[in-house]
C-alpha cells in the first residue's frame, strides 16, 4: 500500500516542497524514515505512533517505510509529524488518499494527537502559492501567519482528528483573517516629544532616517544617547508590503513570531548587548538561523557602548553594511539572509566618559583613551556617514514643554524618502546612503558657492578625502528634506557639522 503527499522544508530564508511517501508492506513490524532526516524528524516516529493511537486510529503493525524526497537535502524540524501521520493513515485507507492531493501539510504532533505550532510558516505558504498548490494545512496557531498570502486555502487544525475530518469532508475550518502585528522586540513605545532638549541630536536622527545613513553618537554618560536611540523606529517611514513580508519571513524562521501572529508592520529595533557572539550577530549555527543583523533588516541595529564590542564582532558588520545581506557558509549549507539595516552606534569619548569634557576631569591615562578608540577601525568608521557629539541635557531643557513629536518628523522623513525613490527609479538603489561615487557625481552637483565652501572646509577643518563623499551624501539628504533639487550652501554647511569628530578620531590615533 502506497501513499504520497506534500509537505515543506526550510532552506535559508526560503522553503521548498517535500514529497512524503509512505509504503506499508507485510513483514516484521518496523518504522523507518529515509531521505536525510535529522534527529527531530527521526524522533517523529514515536510521536506519530502515539498520536495516531491516542486519536483512536489504527497504527498498522506492519513494515512502514517512509521517504522524504528530494532525498539529498537535509530535512530539519518537527513539522513533518502531521504529514507523516496523515501519510500512514492514507496508506491504510483511514483517510482518502486522493483528497490529500493539492495540499501541503505541516505541523508538529503532541503524544495525545494535538497539533502544535511550528516555525517558518510564512515562507512555506509563499512556496505553496508559487508552486500552484490549492492550499496548506497548518497548526491552528500558525494559520494567521499563513493567511497573509492571498490566493491559497489555509486550513488551521488543532488536532489530527480535525485534519482527518477536513480531508473526509466532515470538518470545515473557520475563515482566517490575518491580523497585523508589531515586531516582537518593539514592546517599547515612545515618542520623540518625550525627549526634552537634544534638538541637535534629533535633527541628526531625522537626517539619518531620511537618507538611511549610519550614525554614531559620542557623548558622556547620562546624555540620553540610549533613550533617544530607542525612539528612532517611531520616525522611520512605514514599511511597504514587500518589506513587511521579507521581515516576517526572517522572524518566522527565527521562531520569533509569538502566538497568533501574522505580518510585522513596524520596523525592528535591535539592541544586542556587547557580549554577543559572532553567531548571534550575523547568524549561523549548526542549523543556520538568522542573527541580529538580519532581525534588524529594514530597521535599526543599535550598538550601545560601541567600543565595548569585541573587535572581531565589529569587523563582522562590514559585509552586511556594504552588501545589505550576509552569507553564512557552514558544513552542510550556505545560506544568505538579508541584512539591510541602519547602524546607530553610541559611545563614550573615553572609558570614564569625560575625555575633553569641559566640566569634568577625565580620569583615563592617554593610552587608555587611545586603546578605547582604536577598537573602532578605520574601515568601520568609513561606513558611518554621520557623527554627532552629544552633550548632557541641561536642567532648563527638562522643563521645556513643547518638542517636535515623532509623527511630524516621520512625515518629513517619508516625503524625503519619496523624493529619493523617484530619483533612483531603475537604479536598484533606494536611499542616498547607497550612492556610489559615480552616482554622487551625477546627483550631488555643487554650484560655485558650494564648491568654494567645500574647498575652504577641507583646508580649515582638515577633512580627509574619504569624508568628501560622505558629506555630499548627507548634504543630498538634507536637500531632499528641504525638497530642494540642488544642494545649496546651507545644506552643505549643515552636513559639515556631522564630520566634526573626524579630527577627534584621527588625533587620538596618531
Amino acid at each position: 500500500m502506497l501513499a504520497s503527499l506534500k509537505s515543506c522544508a526550510i532552506y535559508g530564508l526560503d522553503s521548498f516542497l517535500v514529497d512524503v511517501e509512505v509504503y506499508i508492506s507485510s513483514g516484521l513490524p518496523a518504522f523507518e524514515i529515509v531521505g536525510l532526516p535529522d534527529t527531530a524528524v527521526r524522533e517523529s516516529r514515536e510521536r506519530v505512533r502515539a498520536a495516531i493511537k491516542n486519536q483512536n486510529f489504527d497504527f498498522p503493525i506492519k513494515r512502514i517505510t517512509l521517504n522524504l524526497a528530494p532525498a539529498d537535502i537535509k530535512k530539519e524540524g518537527p513539522h513533518f509529524d502531521l504529514p507523516i501521520a496523515l501519510g500512514i493513515l492514507a496508506a491504510t485507507e483511514q483517510v482518502p488518499a486522493s483528497a490529500l492531493q493539492g495540499y501541503s501539510i505541516v505541523g508538529e504532533l503532541s503524544l495525545d494527537g494535538r497539533v502544535r505550532p511550528v516555525n517558518g510558516i510564512l515562507p512555506m505558504a509563499i512556496e505553496v502559492k508559487q508552486k500552484g498548490l490549492k492550499g496548506i494545512v497548518v497548526p491552528f496557531e500558525n494559520a494567521e501567519e499563513a493567511a497573509v498570502i492571498k490566493g491559497i486555502e489555509v486550513i488551521g487544525v488543532k488536532s489530527l482528528q480535525e485534519a482527518v475530518g477536513f480531508f473526509k469532508g466532515e470538518f470545515k475550518p473557520d475563515d482566517i483573517i490575518p491580523e497585523v502585528m508589531d515586531t516582537v522586540t518593539t514592546e517599547f513605545e515612545g515618542d520623540f516629544s518625550e525627549v526634552k532638549g537634544q534638538e541637535v541630536l534629533k535633527r541628526a536622527l531625522e537626517i539619518a532616517a531620511a537618507g538611511h545613513h549610519n550614525l554614531i553618537m559620542v557623548g558622556p554618560p547620562g546624555s540620553g544617547k540610549t533613550m533617544i536611540a530607542r525612539r528612532i523606529p517611531t520616525i522611520l517611514p512605514s514599511m511597504t508590503f514587500e518589506e513587511s513580508l521579507e521581515l516576517t519571513k526572517i522572524y518566522s524562521i527565527a521562531g520569533l513570531l509569538s502566538g497568533r501572529s501574522s505580518l510585522i508592520k513596524k520596523r525592528p529595533f535591535r539592541a544586542p548587548h556587547h557580549s554577543i557572539t559572532p553567531v548571534g550577530l550575523v547568524g549561523g549555527g549548526r542549523i543556520p538561523k538568522p542573527g541580529e543583523v538580519s532581525l534588524a533588516h529594514h530597521g535599526v541595529l543599535f550598538l550601545d557602548e560601541l567600543p565595548e564590542f569585541s573587535k572581531e564582532i565589529l569587523e563582522l558588520l562590514r559585509e552586511p553594511l556594504e552588501e545589505g545581506k550576509i552569507t553564512i557558509s557552514r558544513m552542510n549549507a550556505t545560506v544568505t539572509y538579508p541584512a539591510s539595516f541602519m547602524l546607530v552606534g553610541a559611545m563614550n569619548p573615553c572609558p570614564c566618559g569625560y575625555f575633553q569634557d569641559p566640566f569634568h576631569e577625565c580620569s583615563c591615562p592617554p593610552h587608555k583613551v587611545h586603546n578605547y578608540l582604536s577598537k573602532i577601525s578605520g574601515p568601520l568608521l568609513d561606513r558611518i556617514d554621520m557623527q554627532v557629539g552629544v552633550s548632557p541635557v541641561a536642567f532648563s531643557d527638562l522643563e521645556k514643554a513643547n518638542s517636535m513629536d515623532s509623527a511630524t518628523i516621520k512625515k518629513r522623513v517619508e516625503l524625503a524618502r519619496a523624493v529619493q525613490l523617484e530619483r533612483y527609479k531603475g537604479l536598484n538603489i533606494f536611499y542616498n546612503s547607497q550612492l556610489t561615487p559615480a552616482l554622487i557625481n551625477k546627483y550631488c552637483k555643487l554650484g560655485r558657492a558650494e564648491k568654494l565652501l567645500m574647498k575652504e572646509a577641507f583646508q580649515r577643518l582638515k577633512l580627509s578625502a574619504r569624508a568628501y563623499n560622505r558629506i555630499l551624501k548627507v548634504a543630498r539628504t538634507i536637500a531632499d528634506l528641504d525638497q530642494s533639487e540642488n544642494i545649496k550652501e546651507r545644506h552643505l554647511a549643515e552636513a559639515l557639522q556631522f564630520r566634526n569628530l573626524d579630527r577627534y578620531f584621527q588625533n587620538i590615533r596618531t
Binding site: E199, P349, Q356, P366, V388, G389, S391, A493, E494, N500
Partner: protein, 365 residues
C-alpha cells in the same frame, strides 16, 4: 675636580642622590679610590648607613662607567658634570643639583635665559593654544623654553618654541636613548636640532613614574621661572611649581574658566601667590626683559572686526564665549532651528572664530 668616571659611576648607583654623592665626593676624587675604598670609609660619610653601604659595595662591582661613557659617545650624547662650565648655572644653585647630565643637541642653550612651561597631559583646546603661543613668543625673544616632552601641554610648548626656530630644552624622565612617549619621536629629533635634550638618568633607564618628580626638579631648576598653563587639582605640574618655589624661582599661572577642572590647579597657585599671566609680557616684566610692544593682532576683538560676519552669525557668536557652550544651548537661546544653527556654526568655524569640541560644544577662539 672629580674624575668623570667617578661621577658617572656614582650617578648609576641606586639610592645615591645628589646630596649623598656630594658627601662621597669629599672622600674620593678618583674612580680608583672609590673602587678600593673599604666599608668603614663609606660609613664615615654622613648620610650613609649600613644598608646603603651594602648597596654601594654590591653595585660598584656591577656598574661600568667606561662602558657608559662609550655608549653615550655612540649615541652622540655629551656628559656634563656639575663642575663643567657648560653645566646650567641656575641648576647648580639648587639644593640638590644632579652631578651628571646627559645631553643631546646644543648644550649652550642651557645657560640662556630659560622659562619652563608645564601643564596637564590632557589639555583643553584653550590650554593647547596658550602653551603653543606663549612658547613661540618666548622663543622669539630668544628665551629657552624648558619642558618635559610629555604628552599634552609639554608637547605643545616644545612645538611652539620650534615654530619660532627654538631654543627649547626637553628634560627627560628616562635614559637619553629612550623616547617617551613614543609619539614624540619627531619632536625630540627637532629639539635636538634647535635646542637640547637632557636627562640625569643613566642610559637605558625606563620612564618609571617615580622618575618624574626628579625630572620636574631639573625643569624648574634650569629655569628662571615656571609657567603652569593648565593643571587639574592634583597634577604633576603642581609638583614642578612647588620645586620652583623651593628653589626660589618665579611661579606663573595662566587662569582659565572657573568651571574648567583643568584650571583648578592653576587657580590654586594664583591664590597662593603665583603671578597671573595673561600674555608673554607678564613673564618678561618679571625677568626685567624688554617687553613685546605690538599686541594688536592677538587682540580678539580686533580680529572679529576684520572678518566680516552676517547679522545672524553675530547673533550666535555673541552667545559663544571663551568657555565651552553646547550647541544645544545655542538652539534654545536663539530660538533658531538646529539646521540653521548647524550651518551657522560651520561658517563660523571656517572663519576661524570658533572651535568645535567633542561632545557637541563650541568655544570662542
Amino acid at each position: 675636580m672629580a674624575e668623570l668616571e667617578l661621577l658617572v659611576a656614582l650617578n648609576m648607583i641606586p639610592y645615591l642622590g645628589p646630596v649623598r654623592i656630594r658627601g662621597l665626593l669629599n672622600c674620593f676624587k678618583t674612580y680608583h679610590d672609590f673602587m678600593n675604598a673599604t666599608r668603614n670609609t663609606f660609613l664615615e660619610v654622613p648620610g650613609i648607613n649600613q644598608k646603603i653601604c651594602n648597596v654601594i659595595l654590591e653595585s660598584r662591582k656591577k656598574v661600568n662607567p667606561f662602558e657608559e661613557i662609550k655608549k653615550a659617545a655612540e649615541l652622540g650624547a655629551k656628559i656634563i658634570t656639575f663642575e663643567d662650565k657648560e653645566y646650567p648655572r641656575l641648576l647648580i644653585e639648587i639644593y640638590d643639583p644632579p652631578p651628571v647630565l646627559y645631553a643631546l643637541g646644543e648644550v649652550s642653550v642651557l645657560n640662556q635665559e630659560s622659562i619652563a612651561i608645564v601643564g596637564t597631559r590632557k589639555p583643553t583646546s584653550y590650554g593647547r593654544k596658550i602653551a603653543e603661543q606663549m612658547a613661540e613668543e618666548l622663543a622669539e625673544f630668544n628665551i629657552n623654553v624648558v619642558s618635559g616632552l610629555a604628552r599634552g601641554i609639554d608637547s605643545y610648548a616644545h612645538r611652539g618654541a620650534l615654530k619660532a626656530g627654538g631654543p627649547t630644552t626637553a628634560v627627560l624622565g628616562c635614559g637619553i636613548d629612550i623616547v617617551y612617549p613614543p609619539e614624540n619621536y619627531e619632536i625630540m629629533k627637532e629639539i635636538i636640532k634647535a635646542g637640547c635634550v637632557v636627562t640625569s638618568f643613566p642610559i637605558g633607564t625606563r620612564p618609571l613614574s617615580s622618575n618624574f618628580p626628579a625630572r620636574n626638579r631639573i625643569i624648574s631648576g634650569i629655569s628662571r621661572g615656571t609657567v603652569v598653563v593648565e593643571a587639574a587639582e592634583k597634577s604633576g605640574s603642581l609638583i614642578t611649581a612647588d620645586f620652583a618655589l623651593e628653589q626660589g624661582r618665579e611661579v606663573f599661572a595662566v587662569p582659565g574658566s572657573i568651571f574648567s577642572p583643568y584650571s583648578r590647579g592653576t587657580h590654586k597657585l594664583i591664590k597662593q601667590g603665583a603671578k597671573l599671566v595673561e600674555n608673554v609680557n607678564d613673564i618678561l616684566e618679571e625677568l626685567n626683559l624688554k617687553k613685546k610692544t605690538d599686541f594688536s593682532m592677538e587682540n580678539g576683538s580686533d580680529i572679529t572686526s576684520i572678518i566680516s560676519t552676517t547679522q545672524e552669525e553675530n547673533e550666535v557668536l555673541n552667545l559663544i564665549d571663551y568657555h565651552p557652550v553646547s550647541i544645544e544651548l545655542l538652539v534654545q537661546k536663539t530660538g533658531k532651528s538646529p539646521q540653521e544653527i548647524n550651518a551657522i556654526i560651520t561658517r563660523l568655524q571656517l572663519k576661524d572664530l570658533i572651535v568645535f569640541l567633542p561632545g557637541g560644544y563650541v568655544i570662542k577662539v
